[in-house]
Symmetry: C2
Subunit: 198 residues, 2 copies
Amino acid sequence: MRGKTFIIAGPSGVGKGTITKELFARQRNLYFSVSATTRSPRPGEVDGVHYHFISREEFEQWIEQDAFLEHAEYIGNFYGTPKRFVDEAMERGEDVILDIEVQGAEQVHCKRPEAIRIFIAPPSWEELEHRLVSRGTESAEKVRSRLARAREEFAFAADYDYIVINNTLENAVEELQAIILAEHCRPDERVDLINGIS
Amino acid sequence: MRGKTFIIAGPSGVGKGTITKELFARQRNLYFSVSATTRSPRPGEVDGVHYHFISREEFEQWIEQDAFLEHAEYIGNFYGTPKRFVDEAMERGEDVILDIEVQGAEQVHCKRPEAIRIFIAPPSWEELEHRLVSRGTESAEKVRSRLARAREEFAFAADYDYIVINNTLENAVEELQAIILAEHCRPDERVDLINGIS
C-alpha cells in the first residue's frame, strides 16, 4: 500500500518540531522529509540527516527541473523539499511528514492536492507570544515580526483539512495519530479490497 | 461544542453491533440512536432502550411530519430513526452513532449530508458467509438472500467517507475511534477558536 503525505504547518513558535518529534517516537512507518539547503552546515549537522546540503548551482538546477515540492529563500539561503525522497518513501509504503512553513504548504498543496494538510494552532494568542518570547533567542523586534506573520498565517487555517490545537503535547500527538489512521480508512485505499470481495 | 453524527452501516452479519457495543464501552460522550418501531416488544425489551415502541398510526403521523431521518418497512413492521433524539443529543454535545442498514444510510445522507458515513466491511467474502452461516439461526435460503443483498450494498462503499475492515474487533474499534477524533479536528469545529486568536 502506497504511503500518504501529511503536511504539518503552522506559525513559528507553535511547537511543530516538538509534536513531530514525539509523533516519530511513537509511530513507525513514517518518513520525515529532510529539506535541501544552500546554507553551510553548522557544527554537528549531518548531510542527509538535518539537511541535504547542496550548492547554489545545484539548487537552481533542481528548481529548473521542477524537483522541489516547495522552496523559498530565507536570509540569502535557499531551502526546499525535494520531490524525489518524498516519492520514494511513499513508494515504500511510508507516510511522509512534511514539517514546513505555511507559505511552503500552499506550494505543496498546488503540486500535490491529495496531500493532507494539518494546521498546528496555539491554544491562545498569549501562549504563542509567550513561547516566542521565552525562547530568549530573538530580539523584541523579531518576535513582533513573527507574531505579525502568524496573524497572516492563521487566515489559511480554515482551508486546511484539519486543525490541531497544541494545548498539550499529549493531545496534539494523539490527534495527529488519529488523523493519520483515519486517512488510511479512506475508500481510495480500501475500495480495491471491497471490489475483490464482491 | 455541538456533537456530530456518525452513520455506521454495512451488510448484515458484518459485526456492526459488536463493534458499536465495544465503542460505547471505551468511549464517553456518545449517544446510541434508538430506533422507533411498530412491532411488539419481545420479552425483556424495554421501551426507549431497545426500541421506541409506537403504534402504526403514530409512526405514520411521524412520517407525515418528516420526523424520521430514515425509515423502512420490514416483514410488515415499520422501523425508523427519529430526528428528535438525534438532534437533542447533538445539542448536548454528544456524538450520535447511527447503526443502520445501507438503504437507511442513503436516506440519512440525503437529509443530513454533513453526517459522516462509515462502511463496515468484512475482511473477505468467505468470512461474511461464515459469520452468517455460523449464527445458525437462519435457513440456507435466507443466508443466500442476505449474501445477495450484501453484494449490492458493497457497491455503495466507495461513496462513503470511510471504510473500516472488521478483521479484528480491536482494529475495527481503534479505527472508529480515530475517525471520530479526527473528525473533531475539522476546521468547521475549530475555526472560531482560530478567529478568536487572531
